[in-house]
Symmetry: C2
């Protein structure tokens, strides 16, 4: 099993956590993303992933893009420890929490979008940072409310074992800190992330602990 990754990619970071939690020793193939002309546009990589994004999982002749699809695939093929709950309601909740981040925060703040803002629309560095923080704040505010008082929330986003939702939360908060976002309005989320960050699987997946860092 081979994971095409980039140390700073928040979406690849999610999958690295999932692999580590499951104890799967995947080969890491770094793809050096550069604003405008990185390895993600090479002919070889474009053939594998026409979206020019990481992560991409290669498993035999399967080429699988999209971090959440990869995590669910890992969960189905390597069930222990589970990253989704056993019940339909629980699975639905974990998927929804994950998608708040993976659909409604991260893609709007991704490298290629920020590049479009500066290169094509000529926004200032300050406006770019405001944009970034705006979507983070909107998403995390909703997520904090969804997690804070829910009986399903435990030590982690759902219960007392890490799930796919935690695989999404930790990289998003890591990313938000890089942009100096104020995380004080999200005490439940930051407490959960702190618990995650103390686990070896989350440590090994950190951007600074990657071979391409």
């Amino acid at each position: 099993m081979k994971l095409y990754t980039y140390f700073r990619s928040s979406a690849a970071y999610r999958v690295r956590i999932a692999l580590a939690l499951k104890g799967i020793a995947a080969e890491l193939a770094p793809v050096h993303l550069v604003n405008g002309g990185g390895e993600q546009f090479s002919a070889a990589y474009s053939e594998k992933n026409p979206q020019h994004l990481v992560p991409l999982l290669e498993h035999g002749d399967l080429l699988l893009p999209q971090s959440l699809a990869i995590i669910e695939y890992l969960d189905e093929t390597h069930p222990q420890p589970p990253l989704l709950p056993a019940d339909a309601r629980g699975r639905a909740r974990v998927r929804a929490l994950s998608q708040v981040i993976a659909c409604d925060i991260h893609p709007i703040d991704n490298l290629r979008v920020l590049k479009y803002l500066t290169d094509k629309l000529g926004v200032s560095p300050e406006q770019k940072t405001d944009w970034y923080r705006h979507w983070v704040a909107l998403g995390l505010e909703a997520l904090e409310r969804q997690v804070a008082h829910a009986p399903e929330t435990g030590l982690y986003c759902h219960g007392d074992q890490p799930t796919m939702a935690d695989c999404c939360l930790v990289p998003q908060l890591y990313n938000a800190r890089r942009f100096d976002c104020d995380l004080s309005p999200y005490p439940t989320l930051t407490a959960i992330a702190a618990r995650c960050e103390a686990l070896p699987a989350f440590v090994s997946a950190l951007p600074e602990n990657q071979p391409d860092a």
Copy 2:
């Protein structure tokens, strides 16, 4: 079962298709989205969905946001006809195709993002349209390549029965037509969508066939 929906919402449209394919007669509760001050910001709705987005599924005391999480929940609780394949590889492929749209096209082109561009960054109507078309083209180009020559593709995105991927594809193409995007580079996708659009479930879910249209 109650679906909070808005006739023009592409994400709600996905779920309406899924409900119709499964023959589930859910109550439709329209939420009138308005740029800046619609019903999605009412206290009653914000209590149910702090993200202020549609769709939202209410099922007993379950309040479930996020269209893909809802579709998977419907598929698990109402298995026939299945909207995800029976095998892990097939499920992974359908999820990945769905997420290309639901993560990497739609959220960047969503109402609230377009509003930010015009209201806060002062972009012109022309620049806004260019932005919209840019992300649609990037995503559909990748999707066309992923679907066009894959042995798993059949009459629909995956095999010969509609799946979650088709529930995402049809609303995205509908939306793209509203912005006069050139769809001629995507003959496989448009052929699949045409087959879908001939099915009664897809017709009933059309924006113009909604009570709030």
